[in-house]
Every structure is written in C-alpha cells, then in structure tokens.
C-alpha cells in the first residue's frame, strides 16, 4: 500500500477504520454520563422535567473529535512511513561488512545510520543478519552467528571505530547471501578481492566531500622559522577545497597555534612557526573537528628540547673562553638545547641529534666514517669554518671548499668587511632581520658548483655563500663559512647568531637509531578510535624497540605514545600508513551514504495529535458536564496531564538553573569557527585570570545565540562582530534590546575586521542605544581593578562607551564598542607585556560590569587630595 511516497508498514491495521461508523453510532447514542446526586427533595424536580424522554445526542463536533482521535490512533498503529525503503535486494541472509578502522570515525554516523537502516529492513523481511566488523581487536571472527534484527542492532550499538586499518584477510562470507560493504572511503587490505567473489554486492561509501582526512608529518625540510610542518592527506577522488583548521596543542589540550586551510587535490601542507618556549610545549597536532586517530599527530621527545653535542675537549673553554668557539655556541644554545661536549668519538657514542664541529678540519678516518654514517642516518652536522679548515678537505661539507680563506679586511686588502645579504626565501633563516653591524672579515670560499644557490642559506652582500647546507642521506650538513668566534666576523656577537643556531637546531630530527637499540617501550598513552588520548588498556604489551620502529598501527600496537626513561616515541597513523588509496568496489554497485531519502515515521506525530485531541475532548467534557466542577480524580488526572505536558520545559529549566547558579562569561556565537574558537579560548583565559586574581570565579564560558537563548543570566556579553554573521532579525533585536533595557551589558568588538563596522551598524541601527563617546581618561573602566594607564592607546585601537549611563544602571554602560579583537588578545599566550595587559583589561571589564561605579570615587581622588591640601 503506497501512495506518493507514503506507505504503511502494517496496512492490515487500517481495517480498523471500518469500525469507525460503529463507533460513531455508539458515541451518538451514549450521552456523556450525568452525575448522580441523592437529593431528598428530588420529588419537586419531577414536574419541571422536560418531556423529552430519549437521551440527548452528543454534540456533533465532539463526535467528530473522538472519531478523529480514533482514526488517528488506527492510522498511527498502521505505522505510516514516508519514503519507505524498498525491500533489500537478493535472497538469503544479509551480510553487513562495516569498516570500523581509523578512517571510519570521520564517517561513523553515516555508516551506523545506514547499517541501522539495513538491519531494520532485514528485520521486516525476517532475514538473518551477519555483522562483520573489519577492524576488530581480536581479529576477524571467521564464522559469526546468524542474528535477528534486534540482536544485530545491539551489536551495532556496541561497535566503535578502532584506530588501525581494516583488514579483510581471512573473512569468509558464509552462508551465501546479500553483501553490504559500508566503507569509510579508504581501501583496506584484501577487501577488493573479497568483494569480487560476491555477486550483487552493494558497496556504500561516503560522498566525495565526506572522505576522511589523514594528517601526516611533512618530511620536507622546513624553512623560514617554521617549527612544525604537516601534510593533510586526502584520498584520491576527494573533493578539493574542504576547509579545515589545524591546531597545535599542548599536553593539556591548550591550543598553542591554529591555522585555517582548505585542502588541495591530494596533499596540503600546513606550517606552524612557534616560538622556542612554546615549541617545547607542543604535544600534538590535530585537525580540529575531525575526531579520528588519523587526524592526530603526537609529537614525541624528538620534537622537544634537543641534545646538541659540541666537539670540543672538555675544559677547553675554561682557560680562555672568549677565544673558544664552543663558548659562543654554548652561550647561544643554552636556553633552547641540552649541550654535551666531548671528543667526536664520545659524541658519536651518545648519538645526539645534532653535532657541532667548530673549526675542525681533519678527523681520524674511523671517526669520519662513523660521523658520515650518523649523518646519513638522520643526524644534523653543523660545522664552523676556521683556520683549521683552510686545507680544502671536502669531506662532510655541503659544498666543495676552496683552500685558503678569503680576507676581506686586513692589512693587505682594500676590501671592506662585508655585510650579509637578505636571506633567500628557501632559507630557514628567511624572515630574520639583519643588522648592518654584522660584518664578515674572513671566510672560506665555496667552489661554485651547480645548484649552489639552492644550497646557500645565507650569503654576503657580494653574493658569496656564507652558510651552506646539503642533505646527506636522511641527515643534514650545515656549514658556516666563518668562525663561531668573533675572530673572523662579528656574527658570533650578534643576536642573529643565536636565532640562526636555534633555527638550525630546530631542523634536527631524531636519528632513527636510538641510543640503545634493544629493549622494550611501554605504551604511555594510546589513541582511541576518535583520536582521544586514553590510558593504555592493561593487556597491552610493551613493544620491542625494533618492532616499534616499523610497526603499523594495529590492536597490538595502537597509535599513541610509547616511552621509557626520558625518551618517548610516537606511533602515529600518518607516519606509518602507506599512501591512501580510494577503495575498490570490486565490481559491486557503489552507492553513497544518504543517497536515499531517509524514512520518515509518522507514528509519533499521529499519536501526539490524537493525545492532544483527547485532552481537548476531556477539557470540553469537563466544561459541559458541570462547569469545570472537577472532582478529585479529575483534578489528579489533569495534574498528571499538565505534568507530562510540562516535562520538556522542565528539562530546559534544569539547564537554565545551571546557568543561573553561577556567573558565566558569555559570548555571541558568530558561526565562524575561527572567531568562535578564539573567543571561547580568550574568555576561558580571562575566566582563569579572574579566578586566580580576584574574588570573581566564573562558572565557565558560554556561547549564546542572541536570537534564541535566554540572555538574562549573563551580566556581560562579549559580541565579536563578523561580516559573516547572519543579519539581525526583528526577534533577535527585540531580545537584545530587552536584555539591554534590563541592565545587561554588551561589548561589541569589530576586531578591526574589514566590513565588520558595517555589520555592527546593521545590528545597532535596530537597537535603542544612548550616544557613545570615546572612553575618557578617568573612566571607571580604567580603575575598576587595575589602573590601566595606556588603555586603549596601548593596544592601538579605540574604545567607546556610553556618554552618560542611564539611571538605575549604576554607571555601567549598556553598550561598549571596541575594535581590537579582544578575544584574540585574551587568547594569545605569547610572552611579553601585551597579553598581561589584555588580561588586566578583561579583569577590569568584568569588574566594571559587576560592580558598576563602585570604584568611581577614585575618579575624584585628585580633586579630593587637592581639597585636602587646602
């Protein structure tokens, strides 16, 4: 039984509609029961009785209501469904193969709802079900039991994505039946051959715009102060231009840096430039919003503070430190790296990621060979030129060197000492500022070989290379063509030298071969299928070092952080997985998730309407049968009914109670994830500051929608105005106006974004706001907690408050307008004075909103003092 997409699951129930006329007759002749009253003088009512002896008919509209309610209940029991799914194809049992591997957490809802749909349809046809989860902890079950729809549903509810790839090896489809493969859009091993053996298999996959993303570390050499580079890997066939936000997180989840990018056709590179102190805090890089183990890169100890070895005999710096290169290098690197010193042979035993050779021209062949092997294994060898290197030995140098040195300024030359040329773009030093004071008097010249421009990281102003670098194996050779002492150049005395060394050291990776090649690594924390770090399960065994190095994520080695004393190694999906492949359907017909319109069930709606009609009928009967003279039971029934009607609003009130229970900082959701995230973070930071320094302890940060949410809980609302925010409608304006009229305070912040002024104007044009002026020097806001002298000038923006606060507002301006993007200022963690001042302003702002003119008398302090003086 189907009409225009609407069909009934149990059409035979509709036969009950035939009984409706009978109901009509029954209802028609049965009047509503009258009340019986035992009344002594009843006799006197005898003659007043009208002559009508037949029972009165129920009013036709009551009849209609009841018939309608009955009809609705019958219709509801017949379970009408819009877009009813067709019967499942094929015959025999249904096999549902679910990809619950690492990629599936990004497509999980679609997979699960499709699976639930298939199970429901199979249940209607009474077909047996087999559910095969392709990424299992205990390996695939060769012959799972046949399930009913209910059992299958229970198993489906228990399925979770696992953080490892799927594997169809060993899976057998028995007994023969209809196969549904619910893919996440990434090919798993041995799955295509399996599908090829099945006839009429149906392969379901996410659409081109929904395919999962994988975050990989970028192995290319970073340049220009870049600290971390990652690649967003998209499977082939994925639609380019998907906007994603990549964040660098500290161990406690704090966002250190974030970048918005749109994906390209296959790989998209994202680079972060974190300052050194933050760099060591970075614990993971994530694709925000993609809850998946594949969207997380855990940073292990190789990304943290590096150990640098300086090849200098211990104690050599003690006698005459200012002439020793090791002294200058140590001074430069001390804040950012751990430094060990010793002979080359000693250093090679400890295998630090970086070894610095200051002015060492020749080495014993054994050391040279092991040094060469170490570099090729991933070490970073940083060499400084000097008198000892003028012999033109070209072993372990980025470029061939000429013998001798070029003297630019000396008694025998007319040349002036040369300055540095701007750094080329491919150089890691790009972006560092140069000083004229840096001059080079002497250097070792490189032999101009082909491609030397690309190997040059820094050159003198006349173009001769000063710093050259070359990859060697997996390692890197870097040569400063001058000394690390001020002997040949003033470079070693400049701040630039420090930054250059920092950036160079930052390029070092962990040599693949760790200090000890034997031993076990304990899992420290592992990722679950959704990319959240969890404690490792107790039955997870430690992993031998050599196995860990080549392990791919699996149930035995889930992605996560493995470690032992002082050293951690990350096992990341992105590092270990081969390049992504689009899944092969193996001849099966391919259907995208959500291609069919979803079934819509009308039973709840119909039952609700029938219930409402019944309630209305009840009220009408109460009104007719005794002027709402409710007896006790009627009252109870009414209360029960009203209670159930009131339940949803009770639920809403519970939420409100939490908001009203304590003070929350609120901001208006712009819908732009970058602004919202930043604002939430900023307010969170202000909340922390408030809790730490003042008696205000905010209960949290709440995002509100001014059009819908109840605003009255919030004394202060921060409203970042963005051009993308939806234009205000009347309802929202009324809401906001009412909030302002009843004592609320809103800080609008255009953030200096282009066009935001215009958006702000469209909002405020509909609001009744008193005239605003630029904040005066003695405004309370500048003294409500901290004395802010250089506000707002110190932040390079302007700040507007009400010229004269309305009565009853305690001097608090209802509207404030800023253009500094306070959300971001509050959120920024980078050192210096400005974040502190921003926090102070935040504290003042909240204090101002809460205490009003409490501190206003301080405004008059100068006058009071003056008067006292007289």
């Amino acid at each position: 039984m189907a009409m225009a997409g609407l069909s009934f699951l149990y059409p035979w129930v509709l036969a009950g509609l035939a009984a409706l006329p009978l109901l009509w007759l029954l209802l028609r002749v049965t009047p509503p029961a009258p009340r019986l009253i035992r009344f002594p003088p009843a006799r006197f009512l005898a003659d007043i009785l009208p002559e009508e002896s037949t029972p009165r008919h129920t009013p036709w509209w009551i009849l209609l209501m009841r018939i309608l309610a009955a009809a609705l209940i019958i219709l509801a029991l017949a379970q009408p469904v819009l877009n009813r799914a067709q019967d499942l194809p094929g015959t025999g049992p249904i096999h549902v193969l679910i990809d619950n591997g690492w990629a599936s957490s990004q497509t999980w809802p679609a997979q699960i709802s499709t699976a639930a749909d298939i199970i429901a349809r199979a249940g209607r046809q009474d077909r047996n079900l087999y559910i095969h989860a392709l990424a299992s902890e205990i390996g695939l079950q060769a012959a799972p039991d046949a399930l009913t729809a209910t059992q299958a549903r229970a198993i489906l509810d228990g399925l979770r994505p696992h953080p490892w790839p799927i594997d169809c090896t060993g899976l057998r489809i028995e007994p023969e039946g209809q196969v549904f493969f619910l893919s996440s859009g990434i090919e798993g091993s041995d799955c295509a051959p399996l599908l090829r053996t099945q006839k009429n298999a149906i392969f379901m996959t996410p659409g081109r715009d929904r395919l999962p993303l994988l975050l990989r570390p970028d192995t290319a050499l970073p340049t220009g102060g870049v600290s971390h580079t990652v690649l967003i890997d998209t499977p082939p066939g994925s639609m380019p231009g998907i906007p994603v936000t990549v964040t660098v997180n500290a161990a406690n989840g704090r966002i250190l840096d974030s970048q918005d990018v749109t994906t390209g056709a296959t790989k998209t590179s994202v680079s972060f430039s974190l300052p050194a102190p933050l760099r060591s805090q970075a614990a993971s890089i994530r694709i925000a919003g993609r809850r998946s183990a594949g969207a997380v890169l855990i940073l292990d100890s190789s990304h943290q503070r590096k150990t640098v070895g300086i090849a200098a005999p211990p104690g050599s710096e003690d006698s005459a430190p200012l002439t020793e290169a090791a002294h200058y290098i140590r001074q430069a690197l001390e804040p950012t790296a751990d430094i060990i010193a010793g002979s080359v042979a000693d250093l090679l035993n400890k295998k630090p990621p970086v070894i610095i050779l200051p002015d060492i021209g020749a080495l014993p062949p054994a050391d040279l060979h092991s040094l060469d092997a170490w570099v090729k294994d991933g070490g970073l060898l940083l060499r400084f030129a000097g008198p000892a290197m003028t012999k033109a030995d070209n072993f372990l140098t980025p470029v061939p060197l000429r013998s001798g040195s070029r003297v630019l300024e000396g008694s025998m030359t007319w040349d002036k000492a040369a300055g540095l040329a701007p750094f080329p773009d491919h150089s890691p030093f790009a972006g560092l500022s140069l000083s004229d004071a840096i001059t080079v008097k002497r250097q070792i010249l490189a032999d101009p070989v082909e491609g030397i421009e690309n190997m040059t990281w820094a050159a003198l102003s006349d173009g001769t290379p000063l710093i050259t670098a070359r990859s060697e194996g997996r390692g890197l050779l870097v040569l400063f063509h001058t000394t690390a002492t001020p002997e040949w150049s003033s470079l070693a005395l400049s701040g630039l030298f420090v930054k250059m060394l920092e950036r160079t050291i930052g390029l070092a990776g962990q040599p693949a071969e760790t200090i000890q090649s034997a031993g076990l690594f304990q899992p420290v924390s592992v990722l679950d299928g959704y990319g959240a770090a969890v404690n490792p399960p107790p039955d997870l065994k430690p992993v031998p070092v050599d196995e860990l190095a080549k392990a791919t994520p699996s149930a035995q080695t889930p992605p996560g952080l493995y470690g032992r004393a002082g050293e951690t190694v990350a096992l990341n999906m992105g590092e270990r997985l081969p390049s992504l492949r689009a899944p092969e359907s193996g001849g099966a017909s391919v259907i995208n998730y959500g291609a069919d319109a979803a079934e819509r069930h009308f039973m709840p709606l119909l039952l609700t309407v029938a219930g409402i009609i019944w309630a209305a009928d009840w009220l009408v009967m109460m009104a007719l049968g005794g002027g709402l003279f409710l007896n006790r039971y009627g009252r109870i029934a009414g209360l029960v009914f009203l209670f159930f009607m009131g339940l949803p609003s009770l639920a809403a009130q519970a939420d409100d109670a939490a908001l009203a229970g304590s003070f929350h900082l609120a901001y208006v959701r712009t819908g732009l994830s970058s602004i919202d995230m930043m604002t939430a973070q900023g307010l969170e930071s202000v909340a922390q500051t408030l809790t730490r320094r003042t008696s205000i302890e905010p209960g949290g940060v709440v995002a509100v929608d001014p059009a819908r949410d109840e605003l009255s809980f919030f004394p202060l609302i921060y409203w970042p105005v963005s051009t993308q925010s939806a234009p205000p409608d009347d309802e929202m304006l009324r809401h906001v106006q009412s909030y302002l009229d009843h004592g609320g305070t809103i800080l609008f912040d255009t953030g200096g974004r282009t066009g935001a002024d215009e958006s702000l104007r469209t909002i405020t044009s509909g609001l009744n706001i008193p005239p605003l002026i630029q904040i005066s020097d003695n405004h309370v806001l500048k003294k409500s907690f901290y004395l802010l002298k250089d506000f707002p000038s110190g932040f390079g923006g302007s700040f507007w408050v009400e010229q004269k606060s309305l009565n009853g507002r305690d001097g608090v301006s209802s509207v404030m307008i800023a253009d500094q993007d306070w959300g971001q200022l509050w959120a920024s963690q980078t050192g210096g004075r400005s974040p502190e001042l921003a926090q102070r302003f935040g504290v003042n702002l909240v204090m101002y909103a809460l205490t009003g003119n409490y501190k206003a008398d301080q405004v008059h302090v100068p006058y009071i003092l003056e008067r006292l003086g007289q």
């Binding site: 019986l36 009253i37 009344f39 002594p40 003659d47 007043i48 009785l49």
Partner: protein, 293 residues
C-alpha cells in the same frame, strides 16, 4: 485504604449519630430558661397576688400578716402551675442523612440535636418530656430519660417520613416534630389532623439543608430520592430549572405554614448552616406563648 477513616465511618453508621448532648447543652445554655409561669392564680409554689377575702375561701388561706396591716382581710393566692408533657419526634429516614457539603452536619444530626436541646430546656423548665412513640418509657424529667432519648435518636433508623397515625400517647401533651417534611402537604395535614384532638398543639421544626433550598447544581444530573431508590429525575441542566424548583419549594413551605396555622401548631424553618441558638430561642418563645393560650 485508610483504616481509621473506615473505622470512623463504620462507627458512625452503627452508632447513627455522634453524641448530641454536648451540642445540645451548649445551645441550651445560651437560651434563657425558666418555668412556664402561667401568670395567673392557681396551684403553684410562687406568690401570685393578694385579694380580698371571699367567704367562699377557706379561712386557712388568709394571710394574717398582710391582713394585720390594714382593715381588710387578704387572701394570699399562689400562681397556678401546671407541668406540661412535651413529646418529641425526630425524623430519621435516609433522606435526613443528607448534607449538601461534605463534613457539614446532616439534617438528622441537626434535628436530633435540636430536639434534645429543647428537651433539656423543657426539663429545666420543670416540664415532663418523652418520646412520641413511647420508646423511652413514660414522660418524666429525669436524667435517665434524657439519656435514653439521646440514645434512641442516635440509633434511630426508622424509614418513615412521618410518625404512624395510630399512635397512642398521653393526652394533652405538646408535640415537637423535627424533620424535613418533604412529604406532600396533604399527608402531613392528615397526620396532624389525626392527633389534633389528643394534643395541646405542637411545634413543627423543618430542618433543611441550604442546598435543598437553593439547588446550587449545574450541568447534567440525575437526582435520586434517597428514600426510594427507583425514583430518579434526569435533569439536563440543573441550573436552568433552579428558578422553577425554588418556586415549588417556597410553595411547599407556605403550604406547611398554612396547615400549621390551621392546626394551631407553630412552625420553624431551620437551615443546617444556621446556629442552633436562634432556632431554640424562637422555639422557646413559641412554646411559652402556646402555654398562655
């Protein structure tokens, strides 16, 4: 189920009425009491008047002390006092158990309390009291009799709306009848007429519930006569018939008054929401005027 409540109901049903005496005593206290002085010379204890000696008088009736003050000879006359017999009847048929508002006194309770209070007053006034049906024994003025009367009324469940016509009771007694008297006026007339020659008149106290007078109901109601369960009246909208009903009730009450006048009875209408005191005062006054007649 609420056991104490059940117990109370059972007690109440078995005992009929709660103790009437306290309420009756309380009501009596507030009403003046006294002997039914006839205010004429006769056999009595109290001095009534002096009058000149008449030769027909007995010499021992001469009040020598008064006569000595003047030349005339006075005879001291005493007031005539005749103790009355007052017989009480109180309706107890099922219709009397009606109370329009839950928790208010039923008509039966009110009527019995009123009767007992009147009996108390009469005993204090020196009269003899008794029950019309002779249940408590011969009329008298003892405490035992009063207690028996109270006991009888509390337990009485007689289904009749009026006392039986063929009832033997002492002659020249005053009757006090309390009930709702919803019977047709003709029946009541017949009843009073049957006894008329044997009584010295009487007092009819019609005890009514306010809702019986006002019919405060609305909507569709079936009214059932509690005395005869098959007597039902289906009213579609009680509010609509209210005016007609009141008219008929007023007519009935007027008829009762008329027939009381005709039989030289007094009539009092008592609503159960009224204080007993007013009705008792009126009743006492009426019985006093009865005496003087």
């Amino acid at each position: 189920m609420n056991l104490p409540l059940l117990r109370r109901r059972a007690d109440r049903d078995s005992a009929g009425l709660p103790p009437l005496r306290p309420a009756a005593e309380k009501a009596v206290q507030s009403v003046l009491s006294g002997n039914h002085s006839l205010r004429r010379a006769g056999m009595g204890e109290k001095f009534w008047q002096y009058r000149d000696y008449d030769p027909a008088d007995r010499p021992q009736d001469i009040d020598w002390r008064a006569s000595a003050r003047s030349d005339r000879i006075f005879v001291r006359e005493k007031e005539k006092q005749t103790p009355q017999t007052i017989l009480f009847w109180c309706a107890s048929h099922p219709g009397m158990d009606y109370a329009g508002v839950r928790g208010q006194s039923t008509k039966h309770e009110t009527a019995a309390t009123l009767s007992l209070a009147l009996a108390l007053m009469a005993v204090r006034g020196g009269e003899r009291v008794g029950l019309l049906n002779g249940a408590g024994g011969a009329p008298g003025h003892g405490e035992n009799l009063l207690q028996d009367m109270e006991k009888f009324w509390r337990a009485d469940r007689a289904p009749d709306a009026l006392p039986p016509l063929a009832l033997s009771f002492p002659r020249h007694a005053t009757l006090v009848m309390a009930g709702d008297f919803w019977e047709p006026a003709e029946e009541i007339d017949e009843c009073l007429g049957a006894w008329g020659d044997r009584t010295r008149g009487g007092l009819m106290i019609q005890v009514l519930d306010p809702s019986e007078l006002d019919l405060p109901f609305a909507g569709r109601i079936i009214f059932e006569n509690p005395r005869t369960a098959d007597e039902r009246y289906h009213i579609l909208n009680a509010a609509a018939v209210r005016a007609d009903y009141r008219q008929k009730i007023e007519d009935h009450i007027a008829a009762l008054r008329a027939l009381c006048r005709r039989h030289e009875w007094s009539y009092i209408l008592h609503r159960t929401d009224q204080p007993l005191r007013e009705t008792l005062t009126t009743a006492a006054r009426m019985m006093a005027t009865d005496d003087r007649r």
